[in-house]
């Protein structure tokens, strides 16, 4: 059966996939908050939350319940519409980026081949960039609508920081795209999966480093958590927020972390590729499940590194942040791009002489 030239089964399949992925992301984000507290505790020689349920596993639900039960305060001078729009936008933007991430290869269910990716659009990574920049509006609108100078300062900081670091991020990404020759995340992952092909990290260690630092900045994670600087700006843009609206902001941060980990895993660490194993020898369903587990493992490792960094180093000063972004990372990313271009040319032309010959022409 078709509706508007679309197979209705495809529509159902995608809707189910969207529901599963959104709820799974939220569930993982829920437990990421728990993991954050636990990792912080372990790094600081304390046991961390362990009272709610076995090993404290019910702690995130207790936290969530607490947030929901809190009084919903909207400041009297705040712009009410925008005040509510802020956290909603932050959350929506965070969840939207999961649409193009290839969670695994395809499974065969009920005689249908189902791709474990909501939409394999050919500009995948650009879409992620677009949506992530939309997330900045969540911070800006929230900070501005609170009608509070601390919130506004935090919003300004957040916006300028995100814009500065997106540049370096994009430039470091170009080098990866030069190697892959495609913007689709699925194609990029499949290229890294081919037998004999190495993960992109082998070709782009510098690019990965720049991308990782920028991802930290984009997620507003320490050492780049200037928008919510607890000690200077009283929690910044979400200072006036309470109850679940605050919860949405905090949650969006964790969802963003998961998504940027997933993107990094796809771009540099082979996505759902299992190292030293040819997936083609397995049956497609088994390969898909193992691939999903591989991707989740990579995401968990990235999340741990995110937390490890957070509980190790202090916040940058604002001028240091801008210096690092504009004067260090962007030149480095440009250099990396040139270097990559040079090596690609070298590979195409074969020898050094033929490359220099190209320039002399």
């Amino acid at each position: 059966m078709t509706v508007l030239q679309i197979d209705i089964l495809l529509l159902i399949e995608k809707l189910v996939l969207i529901a599963i992925i959104v709820f799974a992301s939220l569930g993982i984000a829920l437990y990421t908050t728990f993991a954050e507290r636990k990792v912080a505790a372990i790094l600081q020689d304390r046991p961390g939350p362990e009272r709610a349920g076995p090993f404290g596993l019910l702690q995130p639900f207790a936290d969530g319940l607490k947030l929901i039960m809190k009084e919903e305060i909207i400041p009297s001078h705040a712009n009410k519409g925008l005040f509510i729009l802020g956290p909603a936008l932050a959350m929506t933007a965070a969840l939207m980026s999961c649409a193009v991430i290839p969670w695994s290869s395809s499974v065969e269910l009920f005689g249908r081949k189902i791709d474990l990716q909501i939409a394999d659009i050919n500009i995948g990574i650009l879409y992620v960039f677009g949506v992530v920049s939309l997330g900045v509006y969540g911070i800006m609108i929230g900070g501005w609508a609170s009608n509070n100078k601390f919130s506004l300062m935090a919003a300004l900081r957040g916006a300028s920081q995100a814009i500065s670091y997106e540049l370096a991020m994009g430039l470091s990404l170009i080098a990866v795209l030069m190697i892959g020759g495609s913007l689709s995340l699925k194609t990029l992952v499949e290229q890294q999966m081919q037998p004999g092909a190495l993960w992109n990290i082998a070709y782009q260690p510098l690019g990965f480093l720049i991308f990782f630092v920028c991802a930290l900045a984009e997620c507003n994670r320490t050492p780049f958590d200037l928008p919510e600087a607890e000690s200077e700006l009283n929690f910044g843009y979400h200072q006036e927020y309470s109850s679940m609206k605050l919860g949405f902001y905090l949650f969006a941060e964790y969802v963003n972390m998961i998504m940027s980990s997933a993107v990094m895993a796809c771009l540099f660490f082979g996505g759902y590729d299992i190292p030293f194993l040819d997936e083609k020898t397995l049956s497609p369903n088994v390969a898909a499940v193992l691939g999903l587990l591989a991707l989740l493992t990579k995401i968990v490792i990235f999340l741990f590194v995110f937390m490890w960094i957070r509980w190790t180093i202090p916040r940058f000063r604002y001028d240091q942040l801008m210096n690092l972004g504009w004067k260090k990372l962007i030149p480095l990313a440009l250099f990396n791009m040139l270097l990559t271009g040079f090596f690609i040319l070298m590979k195409q032309e074969g020898t050094w002489q033929s490359v220099t010959h190209l320039f002399n022409k």
């Binding site: 304390r46 046991p47 190790t312 210096n323 260090k328």
Partner: protein
Amino acid sequence: MQALTNRSRAVSRKPLSFWESLYLPAILKGMMITFKHIFTKNPTIRYPEQKRPFSPVFRGLQVLNRDEQGRENCTACGLCAVACPAEAITMEGAERQPGEEHLYREEKYAAKYEINMLRCIFCGLCEEACPKDAIYLSETFAPANFTRKGFIYGKEELLIPNPITEPEAYALAKGGRVTV
């Protein structure tokens, strides 16, 4: 001026080299330090289940003692109240009636005996002053309370359990504290 310690050092205002200004080596060094802490044993005492062992001469909450037959030792002489530097102890004496010999060891006893735990400084002078071995400091401490009134401990809180009817509770309350 002579320095108190030899640890003071002039701050280096040297501009960072390029490698340093990337912050990476310093960050990696810091991350290795925190990584090492994953493997260190944590010193947490999980309080209600685990308790910190106190020194044998720890001076905690006061206990009003009984003798082996379960009779109260206190005769309400008031020496502890006089000795108390914080003036935390008040009491009212009463005369033992015929038929109460199994409750009180001597003819006079404390009908009311109160210690204000907010005033008490746990110095142990009451224990030293007592001629009847009726009050001594135990190994426990006063738990938190919601009201100030809750910190004024009467005889119900202070009196040690009867060694004949409740021997286990008596042993627990008596504890292993060394009295000097």
